[in-house]
């Protein structure tokens, strides 16, 4: 019955069926899920599109009708994982007891562990997942993510691309590939993937944020503005909350000379992430620009009190900013102090390295 279902489904959807069949047919307790295939498929789609509340409703019904179906257990684990709930770990473990070595189960468990900061275990599980099935999109996506984190971007990119090809509607795969392109400064490619993510999951605030950030360098400022605003609309408290959306939008608005609006968002940004150097730094810059030197000094000194590790702003940048603020405040001694620190601090260098010469 299941084989037939899988074959029929695969006739018209050669790529997407792999994801569906891989999750359905690996269930060793298949009979327990009999009759729920279509609902399970829909459930899987909801989960891949991050439609967790819809998935939760669907799950409640299914659970009542198929209490022993292991696929439902996996879905429940994924929903709990999306909420950051600790019980997700137990649900994943129970699922893997029932369906050992299921690549999807291993993969989703690994992603949960990444979110929990348990990278070593996530590495092992993702490796096992990808080894089990080289065509499982979830396994490829999480393994790709791990490889990028381990400093193997090319290998990671290959897996993420493959994952997106196998299951273009997996929001998380698309998101992770977009993040990779964002980090490697390939905004044109990043935009394609983040746009796909928000098409799949319009409630994904971080994806809107990343989309906007990558539209900026392309000069698509109106589209970027719209993306930031959409992101803010859906940025609700909870596991998916993007604490940096206000920060990024505030910086963007400053570039567009909308200084009052920028100030509102940067004010909110320092409230949301007060231990992050970048927020204070950028609000200090804005205050300097609008001539609010006293507040600029306060913000920049706060940025200086935080270490380089808390954000991407370098000591050099903070010194340079403080120099400019104190110069305008007429505090020559402090301005000179920071001028000296600015001069003494080596700047970052343009990336590039020597290679073996041609023979």
């Amino acid at each position: 019955m299941r084989a037939l279902y899988g074959s029929v489904l695969c006739l018209g959807m050669a790529v997407r069926c792999i994801a569906a069949t891989s999750e359905v047919t690996t269930d060793s307790n298949a009979d327990a899920c009999a009759g729920a295939e279509i609902q399970l498929k829909s459930l899987s789609t909801n989960l891949n599109r991050n439609q967790f509340s819809v998935a939760e409703d669907r799950l409640t019904l299914l659970k009542a009708e198929h209490p022993d179906c292991s696929s439902i257990l996996l879905a429940e684990a994924r929903i709990k994982a999306s909420q950051g709930a600790a019980e997700a770990r137990d649900l994943f473990a129970r699922y893997l007891e029932k369906v050992p070595n299921d690549p999807a189960g291993l993969a989703y468990f690994a992603r949960f562990l990444i979110d929990q900061g348990q990278y070593q275990q996530a590495d092992e599980l993702s490796d096992a997942a990808a080894s089990q099935d080289v065509k499982n999109p979830a396994a490829l996506a999480v393994r790709g993510q791990i490889l990028i984190m381990k400093g193997q971007p090319k290998q990671g990119e290959e897996l993420l691309i493959k994952s997106c090809e196998l299951d273009p509607d997996n929001a998380e795969s698309q998101f992770q590939l977009g993040v990779l392109y964002d980090r490697t400064k390939r905004p044109g490619e990043a935009v394609k993937h983040f746009q796909k993510v928000v098409d799949l999951d319009p409630g994904y605030a971080s994806a809107w944020d990343y989309l906007a950030l990558n539209l900026e360098p392309l000069g698509e400022v109106d589209r970027a503005d719209a993306a930031y605003r959409r992101g803010l609309e859906v940025n609700h408290e909870g596991q998916q909350f993007d604490a940096f959306l206000d920060y990024n939008y505030g910086r963007f608005l400053a570039k567009r000379n909308r200084l009052a609006e920028s100030k509102l968002h940067l004010d909110r940004a320092v409230e949301l992430v007060p231990d992050y150097r970048d927020t204070w730094y950028d609000r200090a810059k804005l205050n300097l620009r609008i001539g609010n030197y006293a507040q600029a000094r306060s913000d920049a000194e706060r940025a200086a009190s935080l270490t380089e590790e808390t954000g991407g702003i370098l000591n050099l940048q903070v010194y340079n900013l403080l120099e400019q603020i104190y110069r305008r405040l007429g505090e020559k001694e402090l301005a000179d102090k920071y001028a000296n620190l600015t001069r003494q601090t080596p700047p970052p260098t343009r990336k590039g390295s020597e290679s073996t010469p041609s023979q």
Partner: protein, 568 residues
Amino acid sequence: MNNPTSHHRLVSLTAGLLIALVAREMRTQPPTQNAAGISFENRQPQSGVDFVLNNGTTVDKPIIDSIPGGVALLDYDNDGFLDIFFTNGARIPSLSKEGPGFYNRLYHNNHDGTFTDVTEKAGLSGTGYSIGVAAADFDNDGWTDLYVTGINHNILYRNNHDGTFTDVTEKAGVSGVNSAGKKLLSVSAAWIDYDNDGRLDLFVTNYLDWSPETSKVCGLPGKRLSCPPSLYPGEPNILYHNNGDGTFTDVSKSTGIADQIGKGMGVAVADYDADGWMDIFVANDNQRNFLFKNRRGKGFDEVGVEAGVAYTEDGIPVSSMGVDSRDYRNDGRPGIFITALGGETFPLYRNEGNDLFSMETYPANIGFSTYKMSGWGAGIVDLNNDGYKDLFSANSHVSENADIDPQQHYLQTNAIFENMKDNTFQDVSAHAGPGLSLRAAHRGAAFGDLNNDGKVDIVVSVIAGHAELLYNTTANGNHWLLIQTIGTKSNRDGIGTQIKLTSQSGSVQFNQVTTAGSYASSSDKRVHFGLGGDTLVKEVTLRWPSGTVQTLHNVKADQILKVTEGAL
């Protein structure tokens, strides 16, 4: 096409007084006759200028292959029309001009839109791997001389007044070597009378310590990329003091110039603090920029950090290439415009006065546009004669193989940012005529009025391609004034003279006499002003380097005005 030139109408002369040229003025916009957009046409194909910049590149793409070459617009034969000089590369690794394809070139302006190659007659084919050029009358004889910078040779050519030049480098002592006798890798040069003694001194930017033996290789075999400058040590710049007898003295150490080690590319000169002494800005590649504040001719203090121009507003360096420093806000304070690489934006600094600048790249609306560009030649020039200076950048990625990254493009179009008269600019490149649609490996750019029609034209050198002669075809009927200064107490070219112009409608503009700025290039020494719909200039005030202040009244528009220092 050939506008008449006339001598100045001097109404009053005030010697020794420094009037407050920098006072904030109430800005009144000159009336514009119509709104026709800025437009350029490349007339190289019919010009007879067949120069192709040959960088002598090899498969390993050494860092030097990206940095030539310069353009100079000068009237070497004093016939009233600008001629064109190009620097050229050489074979690598020999660094010698093995054949005419590597010669520097001088083209004589035939006054009819065509040019004749007079290189060999002039004796300017050059030696070694040339990079930049600076033109000015260093010996005050009324004829423009040339200084050519390069990797292994810098050359000073004295104009013989007969269409030929003589290499006087050795006698003059300006070969570009340091105190240890090592030739430094020179890129740009600027003629500046830093001590206001009436003789032009010479400032030379030096890049980094490269030689064929120490050349690094980056990127993949077959697709090598230009190595980042961080792989090489930087070098100090050089300042030569003109002794007035055909010789110069290297004063780099005594003036404090040599204390700063950078990676100098472009250089611009301006009196940014309005104290009557010309200051020097050096654009450094991926290091902090230098602003050398003139200590009244006694030396320089490097104040880039204090002034806020060493780094971007984000406190980091960019790959600064070309630079120009002029007053783009009509407030009497020269700002600074720098070209840089893609992903960095082009820094634009507003001069706040009180020795402080603030970066205005995004506030001035050029941030998002320039993020995608890599620029070399740079200019702050009024391209539509509306009384407000616009911005120009000559663009191309640094690496010939840049396109292996789909986000990068080696061949790029040049860019024009029109001054919107509200302290912002608009990227009008896509609508600025066919001359702005050419994708090429643009490098140096020089600005000047090639056909004396009152509109500033642009000549751009192109690696492995024909140079572009971008004629300004903007057809808005706006009026203009070109001022040619002739110093008597001051240096003969009047370089360093500060000019304030008040037109009929009350609008006020400021500019200065200099051939420096852009990248490795040298522009028309005549000072250009767009006047919008005004046909009369109420007042022109010139503050000469000697201290002489000279005021002209009721000057007619649309002429090339020659002003002799102190003449009545």
